[in-house]
Symmetry: C2
């Protein structure tokens, strides 16, 4: 009987494993709680009304429709029993010969898990539509708010964490409020919206050079984003954030301040780092159990500089392909190769036509970097159809500043109020 | 001070009223529980993974961004006080001089309101995404169901009501299951999915001629839909439907069997017909209170043939434009014109390249009718951007049979089950 390869997680890492085993005599099962692979790097576009969720999602089984050795199970992973070599899921037990844990990361609230309720983060489609609902709802409420302090609070958005996600979200929020919806309100000027990007570190976009980080900060200023560095959030609730002694009144706070591995990975019983990432051998399997691989955001793998590789798609993809090669080597009775990451660079966008890029030894900032960003993101999109659609949207968006995907999906009954 | 025109509902009727008062010295307020206008005729495409919700929705305030006499309030309408001339909403009271009730319709379960939980209908985006979730979830469950009777039940879809919506939904479901996802499952053949269209009347598509109705039925048969006419549903629950003495085991039942006016309209205190539609004067206002108009699905207006006009977009749109003219006439102190509906025909689609059409005295069935349907629907879409995007999707869809928008958005934790 063929080896059963069970892959937990249909993100970039998991899909790369399955794809690279296309011609191998194995039975592959991908388990994911969602039915779709999600192009997470563009989630902030969904949150700000630039794209529909469906533009950046593709059913996992559609990706593998032609690869007959792949089955897909939509289920929640509950427990991994390494001794019995099986995974307990919400719909039953799944036995494996080889297990690949690619369950990704979740946002790290650094011990303040009660902040999670107040400060949304961006990991799944539901997060992005909730974020979009909250932003659009704040503008709707501001239009009919007679108390000016409360209106100011509604029109203040705080983003905690100035890594690529925080910067991209801040830029997109600025363009949404200062440009896209400019003409749509009668009782206030959306251009008066305040967007604050708060970073505990000394500068934004830490993975980039100091020069690009400075340029990105200036580009954010031009978009109307206030950047506050070297400042940690002391407290946080539905009314705003406390920065040192200073209270910022803000109805909406978003969290983009670092990630940690999910509990599935940490539950393996292997050694982890302080972010819950599992330490793995040079072939990406567990030292104590070579039948289990951990890759992507869930793994702690050191790069050439001795620092852990970042939680980004290219790392996940290369690790997934590597695991495919290791499994093939083992089937052939050959020695497994060591994993080595090929760093192709860093990209982050700041609004509609500004990005910073470190690629091929070049440090770029501005429109050219933005076009590189657009091309890379479009061609990274897995499904050809989505690629065309997203490209259409992007061109449209570039030409018009329009953000048309502004649907409030969750219609709650709001508390009654008399005026 | 300018007359305050309050419009309840941002559907085709409400938008037409506001649009036709563009140059009038009035203050317009549109109240809707959603922030978006929805192109309802294509909702079934969202339910079957052909379009994203955002493709057929546009923010109401975006539609009127350049029309400065329009304000938009997202709120729930709770009560209308005709004596005090004000509307109580979930976020406060709204005074009016002229009120336009265009609150549309909801599905009519004909007294069996407990069926609503079991048999979803299609009115809002949330309905369509719930329907899509349910359909996609049934296939996911079938893939790992070992009990063959239960699998058959999961793969049986019943649609109650064979008007245009029921027929369009049945055709789209057939194409989804028999074509689009054909290669994506390993443990069952999606082509074995059973789709039953149940109609209490003697034939499908009652508004059309008998000949077109017969042709549409044959087209459904070719797509693999089983049509059962002259049969009412006796009982209905999560396990299926009872047709006379015959029980159909089906995990998924959809309801498309007629509509009734919403309770907002019926609560006006005016005379209504048996579907809760408000009877109005020849200028579409209430006989007992000319400051209140009722239009669209909420109104009962007789056509030239003495029968009530159907609940379709062209009727709503023409009535909205008429109310605009009446308000302008009144402002000018002139006699209000009578409403007369100009019937431009009937269209319904049966799958990907077959439609029936009664236009300009012609009765058409087949590909030509389908192209008429495509062109009419695309050009009816209000927002130019959506129009281009939907056209792109449609062309793609036509060429490839692909339904890529198959995202399960609601990830519930399912009950644990051991296998």
């Amino acid at each position: 009987m063929a080896d059963r390869v069970v892959i937990l997680g249909g993100g970039f890492a998991g899909l790369a494993v399955a794809g690279s085993l296309k011609r191998s005599p194995v039975e592959i099962l991908i388990v994911d709680r969602q039915n779709h692979h999600l192009f997470q790097p563009l989630l902030y576009q969904v949150a700000t009304g630039g794209l529909a969720p469906e533009d950046i999602a593709v059913p996992i089984r559609h990706v593998f429709r032609a690869q007959k050795n792949v089955k897909v199970l939509q289920a929640e992973v509950q427990q991994i029993d390494r001794r019995a070599k099986r995974v307990q899921t919400s719909v039953g037990q799944v036995p494996y010969d080889v297990l690949v844990v690619a369950t990704g990361s979740e946002y790290n609230y650094f011990g303040k898990d009660d902040w999670k309720k107040e400060a949304l983060s961006l990991k799944a489609i539901g997060d992005a539509t909730r974020m979009r609902d909250q932003v659009l709802r704040a503008f709707e409420a501001a239009e009919f708010e007679s108390d000016s302090a409360r209106r100011r609070q509604l029109l203040t958005f705080v983003i905690v964490g100035a890594g690529p996600t925080g910067v991209e979200l801040a830029g997109a929020l600025a363009e949404l409020s200062h440009k896209a919806i400019r003409d749509e309100f009668r009782n206030f000027d959306p251009a008066s919206t305040e967007i604050l990007l708060v970073e505990a570190g000394s500068r934004i976009l830490a993975p980039f050079s100091e020069e690009l980080s400075r340029k990105a900060e200036r580009a954010l200023h031009r978009l109307g984003v206030k950047v506050i560095t070297g400042t940690a959030v002391k407290a946080l609730d539905g009314s705003g954030v406390l920065l040192g002694e200073r209270k910022i009144e803000a109805a909406t706070v978003f969290w983009a301040a670092g990630v940690r591995a999910t509990s599935i990975a940490t539950g393996l019983g292997a050694e982890t780092d302080s972010f819950g990432r599992v330490k793995v051998s040079s072939d990406l399997s567990l030292a104590m159990d070579p039948s289990v691989f951990v890759i992507g955001d869930a793994a702690c793998v050191l790069g050439a500089d001795g620092k852990p590789l970042p939680a980004v798609a290219p790392v996940a993809k290369q690790q997934g392909q590597h695991v495919g090669r290791v499994i093939q080597s083992r089937l052939a009775g050959m020695l497994a190769p060591k994993f080595q990451y090929v760093d192709k660079g860093n990209l982050a966008t700041v609004g509609r036509r500004y990005a910073v890029a470190e690629v091929l030894g070049l440090h770029l900032a501005g429109l050219i970097a933005w076009w590189i960003w657009v091309v890379v993101h479009i061609f990274y999109l897995i499904d050809f159809k989505n690629r065309i659609l997203v490209m259409t949207q992007w061109i449209w968006y570039y030409v018009t500043f329009h953000r048309g995907r502004r649907v409030i999906s969750d219609v709650r009954r709001r508390s009654e109020k008399s005026s």
